[in-house]
């Protein structure tokens, strides 16, 4: 459904993402992994229309997005990594703003907001300004904002950040259900265990380039490693985690 062709982004001479070509098919959750600074969020921002690529193309249903951005955005749901919200608005006010800007009918919007706030246990806090919300509550508001208009493409960047265990479980099941309903989902995260559980396919990025793109089981089999964590460590880690930990303890005791 969504595809990138040799997507590249450079900032002031620094290449954040280079020649990234990926496909996000409908009906599946695609995991997008990489260490800090590998270019995950930059790719996600380009896919969400927040950044312009330096070169390369983004294709939606096989057609370049160049002249179809509005049509694509109307069918896109996006959960950003950073919860940038307007602190003086309440959650229903923020969601009404997003829904109205998406052109949703008022009655339908109100019903959806009410139901989703109840389901994600934000309803008791609906009169509080977002400034008073915890990180997890803000994340829930962003998740609701991304789902309000029933998008066909869902791009989520570290969506579990700050969520409690119950909400995490709900969100995991939600993604699986949405994929079964035919949505194309890109799940960018650091949490390998969750990615392994919900993503059928993973793309691993390191220093702006793709180093692996396959089914989780195929990657494990190919590299003869027992888990995705081992695969990831093998592909992108340059230091032995246990050694670094020992050195930290030594510095602490000095």
């Amino acid at each position: 459904m969504l595809q990138t062709v040799r997507l590249t982004k450079r900032y002031n001479g620094l290449t954040a993402v280079q020649d990234v070509s990926i496909t996000i098919p409908a009906g599946r959750v695609t995991g997008y992994l990489g260490p800090n600074g590998s270019g995950k969020s930059t790719t996600v921002k380009m896919l969400a229309g927040l950044l312009q690529p330096t070169s390369g193309d983004i294709l939606f249903q096989g057609v370049p997005l160049k002249d179809r951005w509005l049509e694509y955005k109307a069918r896109l749901g996006y959960v950003p990594e950073e919860p940038l919200l307007y602190p003086y608005l309440t959650a229903p006010e923020y969601l009404r703003l997003v829904g109205r800007l998406r052109g949703m009918a008022e009655t339908r919007l109100a019903e959806k907001i009410e139901s989703l706030l109840r389901l994600l246990i934000l309803h008791p806090h609906r009169h509080l300004p977002i400034a008073a919300y915890s990180k997890g509550m803000r994340q829930k508001v962003l998740i609701i904002a991304a789902l309000l208009h029933d998008p066909d493409v869902l791009i989520v960047d570290e969506p579990l950040s700050g969520l409690d265990v119950t909400a995490m479980l709900v969100f995991r099941h939600l993604l699986t259900s949405l994929a079964e309903a035919g949505k194309a989902i890109l799940y960018s995260s650091h949490v390998l265990e969750v990615v392994e559980k919900i993503c059928s396919r993973v793309i691993i990025l390191d220093r702006g380039r793709i180093v692996a793109d396959d089914e989780v089981s195929a990657l494990r089999a190919m590299m003869r490693l027992p888990s995705l964590e081992h695969v990831f460590t093998q592909l992108v880690s340059r230091e032995d985690a246990a050694t670094v930990a020992r050195e930290i303890v030594a510095v602490m005791r000095a």
């Binding site: 950044l51 955005k73 109307a74 940038l84 307007y86 003086y88």
Partner: protein
């Protein structure tokens, strides 16, 4: 097709509503608090003088009507100039203060970019919201004068002009407000295009301070402007062409049918100035649109600094010689970094310094007209005191505004009751930023009273600054920038006369004392000893409070939702 247009219209109106709300509710105006209440308070504060002054003028016009009717036209001109100066100053200060909120920012980009709305629609809504903000500032500052001034003229002069006066005053004031407002927006839009995002971010607080100073000067220079107006019939000289408030006063006179050449010339200047600013604003809109569409969230971190050898040396020297305890050192450097890297805090202190500059400029402008040749000018001696008062007050207000409120857990965990060393660090911070800087004006004072007396005078200024610091921070049981700040806590609506009286006393009496002591050198010993004693007493009170284990406050208690009258025992 009509449905599509209706949908677009709805989306556009929603965007306009959103952009207008966020223009008014910026982080500088409402830090984590009840937005509606804070905006209402600010607008009430702005509207207050415009509602009060016309009533005060009634007495003046009644008196003139009975004693000197010939002076009424000149008095009317001067009062028109007063209202226009006030309107321009309020609009300029409000626009410079709300600098970040008046345009689209990173948060808007993150929220609006993934939505199916064309970028041009977002920008059009942003422009319209800016116009609505201008209308709001205009109405708040000018509603009183526009409606009440004709009534005042009717009572005093018997010829208020009625609707013609209302229309001319509205048109000239709105034109003036638009000139100032769009000038600020033009500067705001052009800076990143000319200097790049990092440099413009660094310079922004200083540019804001400069704009606030210029706007404040419009009010402070009002007496000089009024004098120039009195000379209009005699040609007026070049001065009226340098003061924007006079351009728009001229425009008002011209709209009311004045047939002298100067109002017509000033009206021409006003219209040309507005046209130039609107052209500049149009060009910056294109630049802003291009930056928003192309760069979006790519802005670099404005606070990322570079290493500086002299700064490191100064820091090491201060740590060794002056900040002897770790807690004291920690608080001092935290406060310093909070002030220089926090945009709101820097804005408040540079704004206070800008007001001090404006007041000092007015004093300097008055020197030539009041000083006898070879005489001591009181205005020059007042300048260090003006800076001392404004800076200490600015630091006090900035200290109440949190830098990143939720991050104060660090202090809550590490400094529960260690009052004295923490407070010493805070006090030294206020000394460096608020009390010490006026010392650079020592040569200026020396030029008036000689080096010896000037040294003593600046000793007095330092002691007064320290006393002011102790007084303002006496009940400030907080570490600067760590406590939640609720709008209206300062209650400027009720307390501004106190501040004004305090300021006048702070500036006037020490100058008089200094002039007296210059003639009687033993007087310095009396004055300095007296001030030192007062400072020691205040520090004693402060230390006594701290030894009573007063806990630091990290969260201002909000007002209860239901307030009782406390009638029951």
């Amino acid at each position: 097709m009509p449905g599509r247009f209706a949908h677009r219209g709805r989306v556009f109106m929603e965007l306009v509503r959103h952009c207008t709300a966020r223009s008014l509710v910026s982080d500088t105006l409402v830090p984590q608090a009840d937005a509606t209440r804070a905006v209402g308070q600010v607008l009430a504060l702005v509207a207050g003088p415009g509602l009060v002054i016309p009533f005060l003028l009634i007495m003046k016009y009644l008196y003139l009507a009975t004693t000197a009717p010939a002076w009424i036209p000149a008095a009317v001109q001067i009062d028109r100039c007063l209202f226009i100066s006030y309107a321009l100053a309020v609009t300029g200060i409000a626009a410079a203060w709300q600098w970040d909120a008046l345009g689209l920012d990173r948060r808007d980009h993150a929220t609006l970019s993934p939505l199916p709305i064309p970028v041009r629609t977002v920008h059009l809504a942003s422009c319209l919201s800016q116009c609505l903000c201008l209308a709001l500032f205009f109405l708040a500052a000018n509603c009183g004068p526009i409606l009440l001034f004709p009534v005042v003229l009717e009572i005093g002069e018997g010829a208020g002009g009625g609707l013609a006066q209302v229309a001319a005053q509205s048109a000239s004031t709105l034109t003036g407000c638009a000139f100032v407002f769009f000038l600020v927006l033009t500067v705001r839009g052009i800076l990143p295009a000319l200097l790049g995002s990092r440099t413009s971010h660094r310079l922004t607080p200083w540019v804001q301070a400069g704009l606030i100073m210029s706007a404040a000067l419009l009010v402070f220079l009002y007496p000089q402007a009024a004098r120039a107006l009195a000379n209009i019939e005699r040609g007026g000289g070049p001065f009226p062409y340098w003061v924007p408030s006079l351009w728009f006063t001229g425009l008002q006179e011209w709209l009311l049918g004045a047939d002298e050449p100067l109002p017509a010339a000033l009206a021409g200047t006003a219209i040309h100035a507005l046209a130039a600013v609107l052209t500049g604003y149009g060009l910056t809109l294109l630049l802003v649109f291009r930056r928003y569409a192309r760069f979006g969230t790519e802005g670099t971190d404005p606070t990322s600094g570079s290493a500086s050898r002299w700064r490191d040396r100064l820091r090491t020297w201060l740590d060794r010689r002056w900040l002897t305890q770790p807690l004291e050192r920690a608080t001092f450097h935290f406060c310093l970094a909070g002030l220089f890297r926090g945009r709101r805090q820097k804005m408040i202190v540079t704004g206070a310094a800008a007001i001090a500059f404006a007041l000092a400029a007015v004093r300097i402008a008055a020197v030539s007209s009041t000083t006898p040749p070879g005489g001591v000018d009181q205005s020059v001696l007042a300048i260090p005191l003006i800076f001392s008062f404004c800076l200490v007050l600015g630091v006090r207000y900035a200290a109440a505004v949190p830098a990143e409120w939720p991050a104060n857990w660090l202090f809550q965990i590490n400094a529960p009751l260690a009052g004295r060393p923490l407070w010493r660090g805070c006090r030294k911070f206020v000394f460096i930023i608020g009390v010490l800087p006026p010392i650079v004006l020592l040569p200026l004072s020396a030029s008036q009273i000689g080096w010896g007396p000037a040294g003593c005078f600046h000793g007095m200024v330092l002691l007064l600054g320290a006393i002011l610091r102790e007084t303002l921070f006496l009940r400030f049981d907080k570490i600067p920038f760590t406590c939640r700040h609720l709008p209206g806590a300062v209650n400027l609506k009720a307390t501004w006369p106190l501040f004004w009286i305090g300021f006048s006393a702070y500036v006037h009496f020490p100058v008089t004392a200094g002039r007296w002591a210059s003639a009687h050198p033993a007087g310095w010993i009396v004055i300095l000893t007296g001030l030192l004693s007062a400072l020691i007493v205040l520090r004693g009170i402060r230390n006594k409070r701290l030894s009573g284990a007063v806990p630091f406050v990290f969260d201002a208690a909000p007002e209860p939702a239901v307030q009782g009258l406390n009638l029951l025992p």
